[in-house]
């Protein structure tokens, strides 16, 4: 009984992680580096949503608009800071992304202050299914997460943009030769990555009730774990990885030690990586 209950909780947390992980891994697929500033897309998404909702916009619209804004911001950030370094190898990009994370996170604090805000979702009693509590918020999260993942799937499989993204991810040199402007695909990728990140941030805010400047940075580790577990650059891997990490965290907290649940997620990750250095569905490094 407790086990099933834990699974229910783990799935919802996993959904949040999975959405965020898909955003991160999409950008990796095309740009070939792990964006340490990705957590800030989550933070910005939650804050913009909060701000827009505060201005009287219905929550759903506030969320969508916030995601769009963050998507555009993502493109601008990438153009200003990442693009000039694209030819310089991995380390400059990684370090720059850490720098951007510092800047954005602290800018948010400069404007919004340090105290957490409540995410304006009304309190709801859980649904009781044969003694298993299913919180309604979790249903919302799972619903949005599934919709987001489905949207990513449709994008990648059935739109020209998605196919171009996959082509660039598969072989950037060949994509160029085939006449695909990597510039525009890159922009589109950053837009989608940041947008999904923002959506993940809003889901995270629903899960954790509060919105605070450090939320994305803290959550980033878990998202990393999911991305690596699934195999870096593989959106479907990220989805599976996210769900697994969510389950591992809740199961670990329940059955091993609550205060080690982060550590537990990472131990699972490192163990998997030692067995499968490229993650579950990863083809390349």
């Amino acid at each position: 009984m407790i086990f099933i209950q834990t699974l229910v909780f783990g799935l919802a947390l996993g959904g949040v992680i999975a959405v965020s992980a898909v955003g991160l891994t999409l950008a990796y697929g095309v740009t070939r580096f792990i964006n340490f500033a990705f957590g800030e897309f989550l933070t910005l998404g939650a804050f913009f949503c909060l701000m827009l909702a505060g201005m009287g916009l219905p929550l759903v619209w506030a969320g969508l608009l916030a995601a769009l804004i963050v998507g555009v911001l993502g493109v601008l950030l990438a153009r200003a800071f990442y693009d000039p370094l694209m030819s310089r190898g991995l380390l400059p990009l990684l370090v720059t992304s850490v720098g951007i994370a510092f800047v954005v996170q602290n800018l948010v604090r400069m404007i919004a202050g340090s105290n957490p805000f409540r995410f304006p979702l009304p309190l709801m009693r859980p649904i009781d299914i044969a003694g298993i509590f299913v919180p309604r918020e979790q249903l919302i999260i799972l619903g949005v997460a599934l919709a987001a993942m489905l949207a990513v799937h449709l994008l990648l499989r059935f739109t020209m943009l998605g196919k171009k993204m996959r082509a660039v991810a598969d072989d950037p040199a060949l994509a160029r030769v085939a006449g695909i402007s990597s510039r525009r695909v890159l922009d589109a990728t950053w837009f989608v990555s940041a947008l999904i990140g923002a959506l993940g941030g809003i889901l995270l805010a629903i899960t954790q009730i509060t919105v605070a400047p450090q939320m994305g940075w803290h959550f980033l580790l878990v998202v990393f774990a999911a991305v690596l577990l699934g195999g870096i650059g593989s959106p479907y891997g990220a989805m599976i990885g996210g769900l697994l990490i969510g389950l591992a965290m809740e199961l670990g907290a329940t059955y091993i030690a609550a205060n080690y649940s982060y550590a537990f997620a990472f131990v699972v990750l490192i163990a998997v990586l030692i067995l499968r250095p490229r993650g579950l569905l990863g083809g390349r490094g």
């Binding site: 598969d170 060949l174 030769v177 006449g179």
Partner: protein, 237 residues
């Protein structure tokens, strides 16, 4: 032959301090099939890359149907009507055959793209049977076909082929040359570099022999085939 499709004049290129090409002059007429061959290290690959903008020429000019396209980025070359099929890894392995073809027509309107895909499938029936299959699982010959088809979708005026016989089982090689030869009906001009000269020559109109980054000979395919100089060139004097 009604005009010049592709022309290079005094083309020089290389990698950093290492110069590979020393003043190449070359023309491809409209609808003409031209072979460039020569020993290892002669600069064939660098030539085709310089023509397509993958290597920036340090001097000289490349014109496409009279327009100067020297050093333009490859993705713009495609828009100008030039297509290029690299030697190896020339298909998107994680994507299906159909998707590979769609990528080839990414810049075309949907209707035209679909029409071109159907035309290509007619031209290469094998691809039609494997539309859903991931390109990474195709055989060497099928890959070359897919790569050719993808490059042809936007109806280029000039097609550059980088060693189409590389990495292909010997018995398929002839088949591929026949396929390329069959492209004459579409009117596309072809510039092919190939080491496998003897086997390729019968399928082209004209040939250039490259050595040490310079054009050593230029003649009709038939004349080159019978030249005694060639064997000497390959095996040293």
């Amino acid at each position: 032959m009604s005009g010049t499709a592709l022309q290079a004049q005094g083309l020089e290129a290389g990698y950093g301090a290492l110069q590979i090409l020393f003043g190449i002059d070359l023309t491809v007429g409209q609808g003409e099939h031209v072979l460039v061959f020569g020993p290892n290290g002669a600069g064939k690959s660098t030539l085709i890359k310089a023509l397509f903008g993958l290597v920036a020429p340090s001097a000289g000019q490349v014109t496409l149907a009279g327009r100067d396209v020297t050093g333009q980025a490859p993705e713009r070359m495609v828009g100008q009507g030039m297509a290029y099929v690299p030697q190896v890894s020339n298909v998107f392995g994680t994507m299906s055959v159909q998707e590979n073809l769609e990528i080839g027509g990414a810049s075309l309107p949907v209707a035209q793209r679909n029409r071109r895909i159907e035309e290509m499938v007619t031209l290469f029936p094998v691809l039609g049977d494997r539309r859903k299959q991931a390109a990474g699982t195709l055989s060497g010959g099928e890959r070359q076909m897919l790569a050719l088809a993808r490059a042809l979708i936007p109806e280029p005026s000039v097609l550059l082929l980088d060693e189409p016989s590389a990495g292909v089982a010997p018995k398929i090689v002839e088949e591929i040359f026949l396929l390329v030869s069959g492209l004459r009906q579409t009117g596309v001009s072809v510039l092919m570099i190939e080491q496998n000269a003897r086997q390729a020559l019968p399928h082209v109109d004209r040939g250039y022999v490259l050595e040490s980054g310079q054009v050593r000979m230029e003649d009709s395919a038939a004349a080159l085939r019978d030249s005694a100089e060639i064997a000497e060139l390959y095996l040293g004097g």
